[in-house]
């Protein structure tokens, strides 16, 4: 980040209403001012000394409203009770994700990683300006002062920051504010020091999610979606809807993707939509069944040559394996999965007086939503505002290169006279059947072992549909035809794997697909960690020892991966093993910069139903800014991963999605999973992701536990086809 000096003076008379804002100008330069029109702040301090952190990442439960606020509070020197948070407006120049370029968005578990220095800089700059103001007033040297719990203190004097907000505005913005050193931290990394900032409004019903927006004159719109992906509206009949209470109108969306049904309330919109009969044109629709897609994918990993050879040499590996004493050959299959965030997709477009609009959304990618509205509504960027509110989960679904539900809402709004707010509501059925799934993938792995049980060749074929090709993300992620997100976690494995060859075959477009919590690692970790466990069983090696032997510490990543394994061994009392009558499965994976090892203890197996009794988790995510938020993300990531491998899949019959709602896309339930214990490895490395890395090891740890319990070795998901769960 570039920090330069900028000096602004304000009239004395403005002091009473003065606000100190520290943040960025559109040119990326750190600045301070007293009006939001002037800069876009990261921190705002009003005349009463009340501090607000402006959080550029949306809150879907993963914790940035707490985490980014912690960073400001730490540097500024206020308590967590003296600071509030607000979500930043859409502004890709200022609130961009530093790892995404000129793009504002949350994803890839980067919220803390990309904000850690930026937000501390903003807090530190505000602190130095307040101190400079006090020092000049008190005639003392700045170095004698600090801010503690909102009081500027030193040289025998003390005053609340409120007293110096007005004069701080006219101080120089420090080019390089001094960041507090770890020994000064009172909040970062301190157990029990920080409570979530978003709890209060989530336990009394007062928090505003996008679903909660209501304008008195609003129209609710629901879309009659095509039952098959790619189908378009041929015609529709709304005779039965006419005359229904609250029904206003039905119109085909301009892209023919569905029929927009407008009514006065959500319930009336649902009723009216059900009454509308649409005839669909299936010319370009997906007509295949998921069994066909599965067969095609599996054929894709069984054929001789992959489209892309992404690591090693297939022939060399094949030669090595042909001389092996033992070959383990397994085919894996991963079905389509829906995200099913608890809050179904929804957003509202509100027309405002200047002819512009406000999009109210739990906006994960505000930049795409913003651009989509400008295009569909023919408005310049400055006439579109995006107001981010709480999101009821996402797991990747609200971040979409097509901004699909924002686009739907914009198209629907454009079908009206634009005088009334339009609220788009999806039902759970829309959500489960609505595409943008975690793509189906197949893997085939052949591992050759020598007489001593050492790996001498590892041939790994992957086949699936790219989530990046054809999207705006393609240039960033796809190189030489290879979508890195299809092979991440295999081709770049942290382990030493002798004679490894990795091939990728892109599957033709089957359905609309999207990233899903932990992206490619959802399948790659499962395969890697299942294979390693099979090797351990085959060679009668302790699965933890085998993994450690493949992590000799030749790279920092290997050292850290071994570190979480050792931490897990300690936490779970690995040597003693699972309690009597239980079996333990292990897995470890590196994703989004973090390292996570997990052990799952199950009872049952063999002829008895399997029950998940306990899960242990050790995580190394660099500096643990908010340890309890990290634990919560591990707990949630584990539950999310395990729930889906147990029993979830989206299947198609002649192109139509078979599942409709939670009864047939059954979420993990409280009774499915026992306690989860999380240990965090102490680290001085820069913070890395926590929202996703808990998910990848959970599935294979469960699979390994089931195999060790005498149950089947599950490689075709979901497990429910082969395993009975208690």
């Amino acid at each position: 980040m570039t920090l330069t000096t900028s000096r602004r003076r304000f009239l004395q008379g403005a002091a009473a209403s003065t606000v100190l804002l520290v943040g960025m100008r559109a040119n990326g330069v750190m600045a301070a001012a007293s009006e939001t029109t002037d800069i876009n702040p990261f921190v705002r301090i009003d005349a009463t000394g009340r501090v607000t952190a402006i959080v550029k990442h949306f809150e879907m439960g993963q914790g940035p409203s707490t985490g980014l606020t912690t960073l400001i509070a730490e540097e500024l020197g206020v308590t967590m009770d003296q600071i509030d948070y607000d979500f930043a407006p859409s502004n890709p120049q200022v609130y961009n994700n530093l790892l995404f370029g000129t793009f504002q968005g949350t994803g890839g578990s980067t919220a803390m990683a990309n904000s850690f220095v930026q937000y501390r800089n903003a807090g530190a700059a505000a602190r130095e300006m307040l101190i400079a103001a006090a020092a000049s007033d008190w005639g003392v040297d700045e170095s004698t002062l600090d801010i503690v719990a909102g009081q500027i203190t030193g040289g025998g004097k003390s005053a609340p920051i409120a007293d110096f907000v007005a004069s701080a505005v006219s101080q120089d913005v420090p080019a390089e504010p001094r960041l507090r050193t770890p020994d000064e931290w009172r909040l970062i990394g301190k157990e029990g020091a920080v409570k979530r900032k978003d709890t209060a409004v989530k336990i009394d019903g007062s928090g505003t999610f996008a679903m909660d927006f209501h304008f008195d004159n609003q129209l609710v719109v629901m879309i009659a979606h095509a039952p098959r992906m790619g189908a378009v509206v041929k015609s529709f009949d709304d005779t039965d809807a006419k005359g229904m209470t609250g029904f206003e109108m039905a119109k085909t969306l301009p892209d023919n993707s569905g029929v927009a049904v407008f009514a006065d309330t959500t319930w009336n919109a649902m009723q009216a939509r059900d009454a509308i009969v649409v005839e669909w044109d299936n010319t370009n629709a997906e007509m295949r069944s998921s069994d066909t897609i599965r067969d095609e994918l599996i054929a894709g990993v069984e054929m001789g040559e992959a489209t892309y050879q992404t690591r090693g040499d297939q022939i060399d590996t094949a030669n090595a394996i042909s001389g092996a004493a033992k070959v383990i050959d397994k085919t894996f299959y991963f079905p389509l999965l829906a995200h099913a965030p608890m809050e179904p997709l929804t957003c509202t477009i509100e027309p405002i007086a200047d002819g512009g609009v406000v999009l109210h959304d739990g906006a994960q990618f505000p930049t795409f939503g913003h651009m989509t509205l400008t295009q569909v509504l023919g408005l310049p960027m400055e006439k579109v505002q995006v107001k981010t509110v709480l999101a009821g989960g996402s797991f990747g679904r609200r971040a979409n290169p097509t901004a699909d539900y924002n686009l739907e809402c914009a198209m629907a709004f454009a079908l009206t006279d634009r005088s009334r707010p339009v609220k788009l509501v999806w039902s759970r059925d829309d959500d489960i059947r609505g595409g943008y799934y975690r793509p189906a993938f197949a893997h085939r792995v052949r591992v050759g072992l020598d007489e001593a049980g050492q790996i001498i060749g590892w041939d790994h074929r992957i086949s699936g549909q790219s989530i990046m090709k054809g999207t705006a993300m393609e240039p960033m992620i796809v190189h030489d035809g290879v979508d890195h997100s299809s092979i991440e976690g295999v081709a770049d494995t942290v382990y030493n794997v002798p004679g490894m060859s990795v091939g990728l075959t892109d599957h033709a477009k089957a359905t609309s697909v999207l990233w899903w919590r932990s992206v490619g690692h959802t399948h790659t970790a499962f395969v890697m960690e299942s294979m390693i466990d099979m090797i351990a069983s085959e060679t009668d090696t302790d699965p933890l020892e085998l993994r450690l032997s493949m992590l000799p510490g030749k790279t920092p990543a290997q050292t850290r991966m071994a570190g979480v394994l050792n931490k897990l061994a300690e936490l779970s009392n690995w040597k003693a093993g699972a309690p009597d009558g239980q079996s333990r499965g292990l897995a470890v994976h590196h994703s989004f910069g973090s390292f996570v090892a997990e052990a799952v203890d199950v009872s049952g197996g063999g002829d008895d139903a399997v029950k998940i009794e306990k899960v242990y988790c050790a995580v190394d995510c660099g500096i643990a800014v908010n340890p309890d938020v990290i634990r919560a993300q591990m707990e949630g990531g584990i539950g999310f991963g395990i729930g889906h491998v147990m029993r979830d899949q989206i299947t198609l019959t002649d192109g139509e999605v078979d599942q409709t709602n939670f009864p047939d896309y059954e979420p993990l339930r409280i009774s499915d999973i026992g306690a989860i214990e999380v240990a965090i490895v102490a680290s001085a490395d820069a913070p890395t992701g926590v929202g996703e890395p808990g998910t990848p090891p959970s599935g294979p740890a469960l699979a390994n536990a089931i195999a060790r319990a005498g149950g089947p070795r599950v490689t075709m998901l979901p497990m429910i086809d082969e395993v009975e769960f208690a």
Binding site: E59, M60, G61, Q62, G63, K195, R196, D198, T199, A200, V201, K202, I203, D204, G205, S206, G207, T208, F209, M211, D212, H214, T245, T265, T266, W267, A340, P341, M342, E343, P344, L390, A391, G392, G393, S394, F395, S427, R428, D628, V629, A632, E635, G636, I638, G639, F640, G643, N661, F662, P663, P667, L668, R669, I670, S671, I673, G674, A675, I676
Partner: protein
């Protein structure tokens, strides 16, 4: 037709037609949005309210069936002894993640503690089974119910 309902100790009137789920009367008509829509088919618990103290899925409870009964929503929980204890426990343990399911979780937890002062983990699992949390905050919910029981016992 106009109906009178008793909600959070007050009498309110609604014009909702027969067959309208109570959920939409609460959310769209009364604009009390703490009660959430998650599935509409009684399989997630996000819409849980109390009907005469009993946790009930408002998405499958129809307006014509709730005349004369006491309807209670999350908005009234801070004034309820058990509700306040559950909210305190939820705060102490930072149970929430996205929070969208939590109104329903709390309504069910209050119902459980009203009939069982000291539920075991298994009893909690059995009672709370129908309240899905896609963020999987389950172990904190379990701990939260037990912590609330402790608070109430004190």
């Amino acid at each position: 037709m106009t109906r009178e309902l008793k909600l959070n100790g007050q009498t309110i009137s609604t014009n909702a037609q027969d067959g309208t789920p109570l959920l939409w009367v609460i959310r769209d008509e009364l604009k009390m949005t703490g009660t959430k829509f998650g599935c509409g088919v009684a399989s997630c618990g996000a819409c849980t309210v109390h009907i005469d103290g009993e946790p009930t899925r408002s998405c499958q409870t129809f307006v014509e069936d709730v005349e004369g009964v006491e309807i209670t929503t999350i908005e009234a929980m801070s004034k309820d002894k058990i509700g306040a204890a559950v909210q305190q426990a939820w705060t102490e343990l930072d149970v929430v993640q996205c929070g969208y399911c939590q109104s329903g979780q709390i309504m069910s937890a209050v119902g459980l503690l009203a009939e069982n002062k000291k539920p075991t983990a298994d009893e909690i699992d059995e009672y709370m089974w129908g309240n899905a949390c896609r963020c999987a905050t389950y172990q904190r919910i379990r701990a939260g119910v037990q912590r609330a029981a402790e608070i109430l016992e004190a």
